[in-house]
Subunit: 208 residues, 2 copies
Amino acid sequence: MYAIGMMKKTEPNVRGPSEHNVRDQIVNAAAEYFSRYGYEKTTVSDLAKAIGFSKAYIYKFFSTKQAIGEVICSNTLSAILQAVEEGVSDADSASESLRRVFRVIVETSSQLFFEDRKLYDIAASAATEEWQACTDYQESIKKIILDIVRQGRETGEFERKTPIDETVNAIYFVMLPYSNPLLLQHNLTIADQAPMVLSNLILRSLAP
Amino acid sequence: MYAIGMMKKTEPNVRGPSEHNVRDQIVNAAAEYFSRYGYEKTTVSDLAKAIGFSKAYIYKFFSTKQAIGEVICSNTLSAILQAVEEGVSDADSASESLRRVFRVIVETSSQLFFEDRKLYDIAASAATEEWQACTDYQESIKKIILDIVRQGRETGEFERKTPIDETVNAIYFVMLPYSNPLLLQHNLTIADQAPMVLSNLILRSLAP
DNA sequence: CTAGTGACCATATTGTAATATAGTCACAAC
DNA sequence: GTTGTGACTATATTACAATATGGTCACTAG
């Protein structure tokens, strides 16, 4: 078969060769259209026209429109995660890392979903229908939090009495309303104060 | 004029005598209909028919349908607050009070908005359009938290370094996604674990 | 075999005409 | 004065036909 890494191709709804020029063209067109006109307003025919093929040909590569959406969504969420990880790697303490995680998530998400690009409705669909990309994203955030808490505990920066799973879960719950676009939407008015205030609360709870 | 206490009659959109049999009949009918058929589905004519008067007469007492909704909403939120205050008064420490606030809010809200009664859509309208009753409710919750934190600080149960406003605000922000029906809706799946886990986090952050 | 498509179907979405609703007002009965 | 209403308007909602969209498939070209 094709040379496939340990990723891709495992997910269903992805057809045809995973390395293919046309697949990339579709994804690029989708990125453009979804962010400019929104996911719902963009039709598969639009994408087909944009790259000069027929609609039917698109379905040789993706089994559904949602499958295309998943890729865009996945890329977008990856971009957020990357920004988060960048912030974390620049931090010089676990506390600072946590602050940055919170701040960067809120900032980047607000920007991507509500300002720069019209990616809100794809994120909304993704969150409502619990696409794979979303649950993966939430898992990644949990893992980042876990790593930071671990590190903080090792350096003695954080307390060690509370079961680490509970600590991580609690922090995750606090951040959830700001990392899920469906919820963030309702919290936009406090999205500028929340990261600061809540980070402080979390860090107080982590004090040894 | 009428003998008016320091309340009622101050809010606009409330017409006619504030003590009046018919006003109560309207409110009772509304409570029944809104919780059975929902706020949006209930028409003002329905209420009129239910109490045997004409629709026009209703408008002698309430300037808009929303004004009726505000009363029902206000009563419902008052019921939640009462349950919360009951829980608090039964608690024997500030910590226990905080736990109960969180637990009772989630339990009572879930029940009222999503199980027992179909009050969700009135609460949703209220939250979306920021009715007075809602902002009052949120203020009340903030005040309850403030009182508990104050008490906890006095008894030495809680730390006193953090500015009390920030502490209260942070706790309030943590509870917000569970006290606002619009947000609670998306958190129903974790609504059983959240109060426990998040109360623990809050209490750890309050440790002296 | 691979690359690519027009024609097709079932369901979703839109436009629009018909209906229902929130809210007003002049007026009647007492 | 108070209690109460039918008739009215402007806007919102519904019902439904017309159209658009997601998705499939048999087929052609090389």
